[in-house]
């Protein structure tokens, strides 16, 4: 019995959608605009996230050691740094490697190479390059390096310099910039989503307002609330599904164009992002569209179902 009722409700929803003609398509259009806003926000967040990650990746702290520092002490420090929860990675560059890199970098700078050759011994010390998981965590890593128990016995004397203190100002500024950008991004997203929801809700409410009297008639004919409400909910869900398909169809060529022409500017290929995250983007749009359609219909019909 319940299955028959469900079948009738679904059929009623499809018939309503088909027979409401222009009104249905107007509602689909508005939901499509809303979903396009949602999709744009997903892509903007991706660009923002990518850009911020690139900036974050450029930040690191390097610990330079004296030339006399024994390698085992440095490696001890490396392993104790790696144990810190804030640390993402520590890379070790030995004095010999540092010299090789230096020579490679200055291969065309003849006087420097000549000076180096004249010295005979390696003037460069080894160094550890530390990357934190978050930009804000560099300070605690620097503090760790200063604390007594952080350094293995005698290690204090082997550290030449730590460049955190020179970079502190830049890192701090970057940190506040990143968190500001994230907060702003979130607020703008929230604002757009709220505006879109209000517009969609009102459009769907108007489509149901047209059926206001008929809802009353259905009740007088003896239809239960679910029997009256059901087809409207299905209709709302159909708006969401059709609008999701429209939005995907719009964004397919749009991201392809952006991917081909704007990748260098944006730093990320939006088409690749779209394709590799297709399932999740599809799911977000479908859930938002269908959810919005159903909830708006539910609230709008409820108003006329009181009697």
């Amino acid at each position: 019995m319940a299955l028959v009722a469900l079948k009738r409700i679904i059929k009623g929803g499809f018939l309503n959608f088909k027979r409401s003609g222009l009104v249905s398509w107007a509602a689909v259009l508005v939901v499509t605009v809303t979903l396009s806003v949602v999709a744009s926000i997903i892509f903007l967040q991706a660009i923002l996230h990518f850009s911020l990650n690139q900036i974050k990746d450029k930040v690191d702290v390097t610990i330079y050691f004296t030339t006399s520092a024994p390698e085992n002490k440095i490696l001890d420090l490396k392993s104790s740094l790696e144990k810190l929860p804030e640390v993402a990675s520590v890379s070790y560059t030995s004095a010999d490697e540092a010299l090789k890199i230096f020579r490679a970098r200055h291969s065309s700078d003849y006087p420097t190479i000549q000076a180096l050759d004249e010295i005979g011994s390696n003037p460069l010390g080894a160094y550890l390059n530390v990357k934190a998981k978050e930009v804000s965590q560099y300070e605690s890593i620097a503090n760790f390096l200063q604390s007594d128990n952080a350094l293995v016995v005698g290690a204090d004397s082997i550290v030449d310099k730590v460049n955190y203190h020179q970079n502190k100002l830049v890192i701090d500024r970057l940190n506040s910039l990143i968190s500001g950008a994230q907060k702003l991004g979130f607020l703008v997203t929230l604002l757009f989503v709220i505006i879109s929801i209000i517009i969609t809700f009102n459009t769907i409410r108007l489509t149901i307002f047209i059926s206001k009297e008929e809802i009353g008639v259905m009740r007088l004919v003896g239809a239960s609330k679910m029997h009256v409400r059901g087809p409207f909910l299905i209709e709302g869900a159909i708006y969401g599904v059709v609008a999701t398909l429209f939005t995907l169809v719009i964004f397919w060529p749009a991201t392809a164009w952006l991917g081909r022409n704007m990748t260098d500017f944006l730093g990320i290929n939006l088409y690749d992002y779209f394709i590799s995250n297709f399932i999740i983007i599809f799911a977000i749009l479908l859930l938002s569209g269908v959810g919005l359609g159903i909830i708006s219909s539910f609230l709008a019909v409820r108003k006329y179902l009181r009697k």
């Binding site: 019995m1 028959v4 009722a5 009738r8 018939l15 309503n16 027979r19 409401s20 009297e213 008929e214 008639v217 259905m218 009740r219 007088l220 004919v221 003896g222 239809a223 239960s224 609330k225 029997h227 009697k307």
Partner: protein, 221 residues
């Protein structure tokens, strides 16, 4: 079957019903007559629990309509068929679907719907309009469709609120004849109208209302 006990309905600045008491027995055909604003529609709305009395009580069989809970309202309304002056058909459903909807509402199966709907449409002479939408039909046809919808679930009571108000004399006569036929088959009918000519042609009990009061209640013959 229906019992109004000292029922009054007072809106903010007007009295729609003023201490109305009457009884309608099962199988009766009762015409309620009066000018516009006499309280006829308010009276029918009270039976359907669309309006609640300000004082007094309305009984449908043993049910006190004014105390019916929201969830039992559907059950009550399924026992009553209603015909309105403006037909109140579902505009985006065909003639067939309008009637099928009323049957679906009470949980009839697809087989029952498929066998009963053509039959009732034939009864009101609309077999040829099965797949037409209400706006493709004349006023008389729409009202006959509304009657078909009202009787499809074999209700105990039919309320026809000014069913002929928008119709020409020929269609009016047809509608009245259909209502009489329904009554002959045992269904109680309440017909409200401001047209005295209709009452003459029905020739049954007449309740006359004026300013919310019953001023006359007569058996015609």
């Amino acid at each position: 079957m229906i019992y109004f006990n000292n029922v009054s309905k007072i809106y903010k600045d007007a009295t729609a019903l003023d201490d109305v008491t009457f009884t309608i027995e099962t199988g009766e055909f009762v015409s309620v007559v009066g000018h516009s604003g006499a309280g006829k529609t308010t009276l029918t709305k009270m039976i359907l629990a669309e309006e609640m009395p300000s004082s007094g009580a309305v009984f449908f069989e043993s049910v006190d309509v004014s105390k019916v809970k929201n969830k039992d309202l559907t059950k009550l309304r399924r026992r009553i068929g209603i015909v309105f002056q403006d037909y109140k058909l579902l505009s985006n459903k065909t003639a067939y679907e309008n009637i099928a909807f009323a049957m679906e509402a009470v949980g009839k199966t697809e087989e029952e719907i498929a066998s009963d709907v053509p039959h009732v449409l034939e009864l009101v002479d609309l077999s040829h309009r099965l797949s037409h939408f209400p706006d493709q039909m004349s006023g008389g046809e729409q009202q006959r469709l509304a009657i078909a919808r009202a009787i499809i679930n074999q209700p105990e009571l039919i309320i026809a609120d000014e069913p002929t108000g928008n119709l020409d004399p020929i269609n009016t006569h047809e509608i009245v004849q259909i209502l009489k036929k329904i009554n002959d088959l045992g269904t109680t009918v309440i017909l409200t109208t401001h047209n005295r000519g209709i009452i003459e042609s029905v020739g049954k009990r007449v309740i006359t209302m004026e300013n919310g009061k019953i001023i006359r209640d007569t058996k015609h013959k």
